[in-house]
């Protein structure tokens, strides 16, 4: 099982994500610099980490989405490779078009950095298979631009197709329909604002994020 974490100038959760991947797979992921034009062969899982890629210039995630390596990520996603975008990674994935909608400035303008309650909406995806639908979990957020926006037709489609993975169970950032994380139509790409990699060991204050990574591993084993 081979994992990769993309590193942009300004990424700051790349190593946390690498630790999370290693803790469930036992292998260190490849750290891929943004200027690379190709990914290592046979990558099963790509992490797009949190941070402030390119200083959030123009729009959060906008520059990163146009970087050479993201073209390779888009192609890998089309082949069914698992892609997990967290926080800035979610913003990057919407900017590439791998996920619909956009992440806008939090409705109350404040940067929000705290543990939040989430509801697992869909336990059918590999990312959420280790959770139960309707389960309440606690995972931290740390973002300024987490206010999910999409037009009503897109939101209805996401709901109808079971592509809302997580919803906020409390008021956080003004997201449309309290959306915290969504899946692509193939179920192999997840973008979410909360940081599951920050809740994988008891010393973190909770382990609610760990099952997300375990679910991906199990999904990959089932594919093999």
């Amino acid at each position: 099982m081979k994992c990769a974490v993309i590193v942009f100038p300004g990424s700051n959760c790349d190593r946390d994500l690498a630790v999370a991947f290693e803790s469930v797979t036992g292998a260190k992921p490849a750290m891929i610099w943004h200027g690379d034009t190709a990914l290592p062969d046979d990558i099963d899982l790509i992490g797009v980490p949190g941070g402030f890629s390119y200083g959030d210039y123009l729009r959060s995630g906008a520059m990163a989405a146009r970087s050479p390596v993201m073209q390779a990520v888009v192609q890998a996603a089309a082949r069914g490779t698992f892609v997990l975008g967290i926080c800035n990674g979610f913003q990057v994935l919407t900017e590439t078009g791998l996920l619909p909608g956009a992440l806008m400035r939090n409705a109350d303008i404040h940067f929000v950095c705290r543990d939040v309650a989430l509801t697992v909406e869909n336990s059918q995806s590999a990312f959420t298979a280790k959770y139960s639908a309707g389960e309440r979990v606690t995972i931290p957020v740390a973002h300024h631009d987490g206010n999910y926006f999409a037009d009503d037709a897109t939101l209805d489609r996401l709901e109808g197709e079971g592509r809302i993975a997580f919803r906020y169970a409390e008021s956080v950032n003004g997201s449309a329909r309290d959306i915290a994380g969504i899946l692509n139509d193939g179920g192999n790409v997840l973008g979410m604002m909360p940081h599951p990699e920050r809740m994988i060991e008891a010393a973190h204050g909770g382990i609610d994020g760990r099952r997300l990574f375990e679910g991906i591993v199990e999904g990959l084993l089932e594919r093999a």
Binding site: L58, R59, E95, P100, A102, M104, D108, N147, F149, G174
Partner: protein, 77 residues
């Protein structure tokens, strides 16, 4: 040739920055402000033979996120 690209949030999209500016203007005593919408101005210095389709493509591919933003191109000189 220069072009100015005005990027603005679509109508109906919440603009928290505009709301904060509005609030601050009210705080300064400007009571006649009905609403504020904030946007971006991007100035491009372009080769003289740059065609309109290319400028439009720049807006579509990078300068604006058309999920949430509109853009207007103004060519200068």
């Amino acid at each position: 040739m220069k072009a100015r690209i005005f990027v603005t949030l679509k109508g109906g999209v919440l603009d928290p920055q505009g709301k904060a500016i509005h609030h601050a203007l009210n705080g300064l005593g400007f009571d006649g402000v009905n609403d504020v919408r904030a946007g971006k101005l991007i100035e491009l210095d372009l080769a003289d033979d740059t065609n309109d389709a290319d400028i439009d493509a720049m807006c579509q591919k990078l300068l604006a996120n058309t999920v949430i933003e509109n853009y207007r191109i103004e060519k200068v000189g």
